[in-house]
């Protein structure tokens, strides 16, 4: 005879929001490293959050929310990069550049950031998640939706390439 399982309580919107707020800063900054335009980082994180809360009535496991947010930020950042590539291909020659001061200028001129931009996407993700977001190999694998072995390989290649790029730039 199987005993009836007690249904787990639904995670409340307040609980989800609390996790989101506690992760917000790290998520935005992680996205800033992953994106070509770090100004999009906040949009990426909000997008992820809105997606999350749209289904919050059925979420049962609060412990998984932070990992989900990280994974979604990586995924969404990739979508934005893909969209950007398409948009650049079709960019009108009549477009005028923004004349406002860019608060991200210093960040984008940084040597390490420039070197990161030159890494293949997966290697960049691995380095940022491992050494900026300080995730474990498994946490990084979860966020990237790859195996732990793949994370190790990406990280190793990325560190080698970063060393080369930084040597070249100096």
């Amino acid at each position: 005879m199987s005993s009836a399982k007690r249904p787990q309580p639904t995670v409340t919107l307040e609980e989800l929001t609390r996790v989101y707020l506690s992760e917000y800063r790290l998520l935005v900054r992680t996205a800033a490293f992953l994106l070509r335009s770090p100004a999009d980082a906040e949009d990426v994180v909000q997008h992820v959050y809105v997606h999350l809360i749209s289904g919050h009535n059925n979420i049962r496991d609060l412990d998984k929310v932070a990992a989900y947010l990280r994974r979604s930020v990586v995924h969404r950042s990739n979508s934005v990069l893909r969209h950007l590539r398409v948009a650049q291909r079709h960019a009108s020659r009549t477009e005028t550049p923004a004349t406002v001061a860019d608060p991200y200028d210093a960040f984008e001129r940084n040597t390490m950031v420039a070197a990161l931009r030159n890494l293949p996407r997966r290697e960049r993700e691995a380095v940022v998640l491992r050494y900026y977001a300080d995730l474990s190999v498994q946490g990084t694998a979860d966020a990237m939706q790859v195996s732990a072995g793949a994370v190790k390989a990406y990280t190793s290649r990325a560190l080698t390439r970063l060393a080369e790029l930084l040597r070249e730039s100096s």
Binding site: L13, Y20, L21, H47
Partner: protein, 258 residues
Amino acid sequence: MSNSMDPNEARRLLSESERLLPDISTPPLPGNLRTGGGSTRRWVAVSSGVLVTAAVASVAVWVGTVGTNSSPRVSSAAGTDLPSPTVALSVSATPPPSSTATAEASGSPSPSIANCSANDLSAELGSISGFSFHTIDTIKLMNTSSMPCQLEGYPKIEAYTQSGTSIPITVVNSTSTVLGDVGPVESVTIAPEHEVGFYIGSVRDPNGACAPIIGAGVRIIPPGSDVPLPQLEIQVGLCSGLTVYVSPIVDKTTLPGD
């Protein structure tokens, strides 16, 4: 000599790089004070003429799907390209029954997310565009509360002089603007400290019959609410009898030209 970067060196360099990022506004924790500092996101001004899709001052340009109400869904730039929360959140030590274990992103906003009230919002003038007798202001609405809230539809707009005297205007709601179509009317969920927006536009009388009232502004009443936000001075040249065109509230990323 090693050809690879030491992981600790990578940490150090990333940490140094991170310090170059502007102070990204952090949404307030529930019950806590706001950290201030505003969003770092940029609402880049639309340069005049670049996005001209209609140069003729015509109501037909604006009147699109007035009152159209498509199936509500969470508004975002790319909709459903995220990994499904079903995968992410259904894992637990004791797998719950599959029928209740998932976080389906149904596309419909949760009914438990409250509508944004005037108390939850602050309004700010964003980019201003003007060409060929058209003036268009982008109005940004920020969720200043500590919880997400949602808006759907057209804000109600009332015009007032600086001293608070009502200015009679005609308001036309439309998804079409001279900058392009803002898309269907749909529910937009706003995270704390984040913004959505809408357009207010007008077509100036080339004969100068409408003399703009200096300092005039609008009071914005969020959809589903009766309470206006504090008066906001705008640049559409408000005058008595003016027709203004108002777009529905849309996710910022869907604003044409943004």
